[in-house]
């Protein structure tokens, strides 16, 4: 490509540098200072008094909830999502595009609305009960199971897509060779197919883990406010304009994300195969 076009990247470099770094620096500054809407820049003081928040039991419980649910969601969507991705790859159906569309079609309708209607049918009296005559979900409204169900089926499509992309790239000749050399189908899967699809699994896991860890809308709606995630606390701090505390918690989440990005770059050297 013509070197002259380098100029075209310049505005984007400025844009990215400003919008990636300035907000994060502002967030870090606000989390370790007394800066808020009533303090002017002249009276700015560095203080670590907000850090007490991190040791409060409600914060610790929220962190535990976020981590536990994010881990469980990732595991479940890995198991179910890998299975579906593998079945799509194996299927004799010619048009794989349609099969993938079936998986991602639900993602095109509004997430909040989908979650709300899920919460509706999980409660004791619901519209499905009035049609079917029995309660499809039992009465799990407000429980962890309800939250987990919502999270898994919201984020699983990401897992399916990235695992499928990885599986598609595997040369079928390799699988044939493995069978010819006497591996059983199960062994072939574990020794050949699975290791080759690991990159897709890592990408998919991160795409499920991070939004679950930092989410607040789905747990709030499905648990009817009973299960508090770290995102729920940040949202509360935002609503009550306590930006210092909100910023501090967001910084903590940022550290989790940095860790995940480092993990991803280990598997994905060029950083260009995210899609």
């Amino acid at each position: 490509m013509n070197k002259e076009f380098k100029v075209l990247a310049r505005p984007y470099m400025v844009w990215l540098s400003v919008l990636v770094f300035v907000p994060i620096l502002a967030m870090i500054l606000i989390s370790i200072s007394n800066l808020n809407s009533s303090v002017s820049v002249g009276e700015l003081m560095i203080s670590f008094s907000h850090f007490k928040l991190l040791l409060e039991s409600s914060t610790l419980i929220a962190f535990r909830n976020s981590l536990v649910f994010a881990t469980l969601t990732t595991l479940l969507s890995f198991v179910l999502g890998y299975f579906i991705a593998y079945e799509i790859k194996l299927s004799k159906f010619k048009n794989k595009f349609i099969l993938l569309t079936i998986v991602i079609l639900p993602m095109w309708s509004n997430l909040i609305l989908r979650t709300e209607s899920l919460a509706n049918i999980m409660s004791e009296n619901n519209i499905l009960k009035s049609i079917l005559g029995f309660n499809l979900f039992g009465n799990i409204s407000g429980t962890g199971v309800a939250v987990l169900f919502g999270l898994v089926f919201t984020y699983m499509p990401f897992m399916i897509l990235s695992v499928y992309t990885a599986l598609e790239k595997i040369d079928f000749a390799l699988e044939e060779a493995a069978l010819d050399l006497g591996l059983s189908p199960i062994k072939k899967f574990w020794k050949v197919v699975f290791p080759l699809s690991l990159k897709g699994v890592v990408t998919g896991s991160i795409m499920v883990f991070l939004p679950t860890l930092a989410g607040f809308a789905i747990p709030k709606i499905l648990s009817r406010g009973r299960i508090v995630f770290i995102g729920t606390i940040i949202e509360n701090k935002f609503v009550y304009t306590n930006y210092n505390h909100g910023a501090l918690l967001a910084v903590v989440i940022l550290f989790f994300i940095l860790g995940s990005i480092l993990l991803l770059t280990k598997f994905d050297k060029e950083g260009e195969t995210l899609l």
């Binding site: 075209l8 990215l16 349609i98 569309t101 909040i112 209607s117 950083g271």
Partner: protein, 295 residues
């Protein structure tokens, strides 16, 4: 003495029929369960949209009145308009800018590009809540200079921030696939570089631009968290509005009607798209056959 005959097992044959049977049954169960999980909420939305009663826990009678009511619900209409306004502006700008940015980054050469692509991935990988919250803090600091900054402007800026990377990411592989000689040929034939860019390179990466645009639109139209933190002055998009109304517990069933319509239109669009693809393929095969016969 008669020698014992080697069995199939001795040749390394193993019987997997029972296992395969179990796997097949399990497979069916899992597929049904997953499809159920993915679609149950959409089905419920569709049922609620044709329910005559306003009460969501009871199905009274089949009625399409909520579909006609969509235009009468002022708040809902406003939220829909806002959503399309923000996503429309953001998608168009992100597609155009993202394409040129990708070309610029590609021209940088591999070493420098990798660093910038990593930075490009930050808005995609970063949790929405961190992106939303930190952008909000930055805009708050800007409020000292521009007091009325929150609203359409901040929303579009925030949406551009997370949609451009998707366009860059889907255009980049197409750029790598294009033949570098294409550009040189155009230049040799006396076309100015920027004209060659528009006339030669852009058509070659068309597919990447299109899929980038679709991704940007999808991400933008369904965004809740980032918009939630960066809106202001009552400028609600659909997600924010629904979230607020759920809290007050009086969601109009017209929302369900609108959502169902949107799903049906998406489905229709996809069906038409895959039909057109099929026809295109068919035509290509025909051409190949003719060429094959001729040679």
């Amino acid at each position: 003495m008669e020698k014992e005959r080697a069995t199939l097992k001795d040749y390394g044959y193993r019987d997997f029929t029972l296992m395969n049977k179990i796997y097949k049954i399990l497979k069916k169960f899992f597929v049904v369960f997953i499809i159920f999980g993915l679609y149950i909420s959409i089905i419920v939305i569709a049922i609620q949209s044709v329910n005559e009663s306003r009460i969501i826990s009871e199905f009274t009678r089949l009625s399409f009145k909520w579909y006609g009511n969509i235009f009468q619900e002022e708040e809902l209409m406003q939220a829909i308009k806002n959503t399309f306004l923000v996503s429309g502006i953001a998608t168009v700008l992100a597609t155009i800018l993202g394409t040129f940015f990708a070309i610029g980054l590609y021209a940088l050469g591999k070493k420098v590009r990798v660093i910038w692509m990593l930075l490009n991935n930050v808005p995609i990988l970063n949790a929405d809540i961190v992106t939303g919250f930190s952008l909000m803090l930055m805009f708050r600091l800007l409020m000292v200079v521009f007091p009325n900054i929150f609203g359409l402007f901040t929303l579009v800026m925030a949406h551009l921030f997370f949609t451009i990377p998707y366009v860059v990411l889907s255009v980049m592989p197409k750029l790598k696939e294009t033949d570098p000689n294409l550009m040189d040929a155009a230049l040799d034939l006396g076309v100015r570089p920027y004209k060659a860019l528009i006339k030669v390179v852009i058509p070659a990466i068309k597919a990447g631009i299109f899929s980038g645009m679709l991704l940007a639109l999808t991400m933008s139209i369904d965004d809740f968290v980032i918009s939630y933190f960066n809106t202001g002055a009552g400028f609600d998009n659909l997600s924010i509005w629904i979230y607020a109304v759920i809290g007050r517990r009086n969601l109009t069933p017209s929302v369900y009607a609108f959502s169902t319509l949107l799903t049906l239109f998406t489905l229709l669009g996809l069906l038409i798209y895959s039909f057109l693809q099929k026809q295109k393929k068919g035509r290509k095969n025909e051409k190949n056959n003719i060429n094959g016969r001729a040679s």
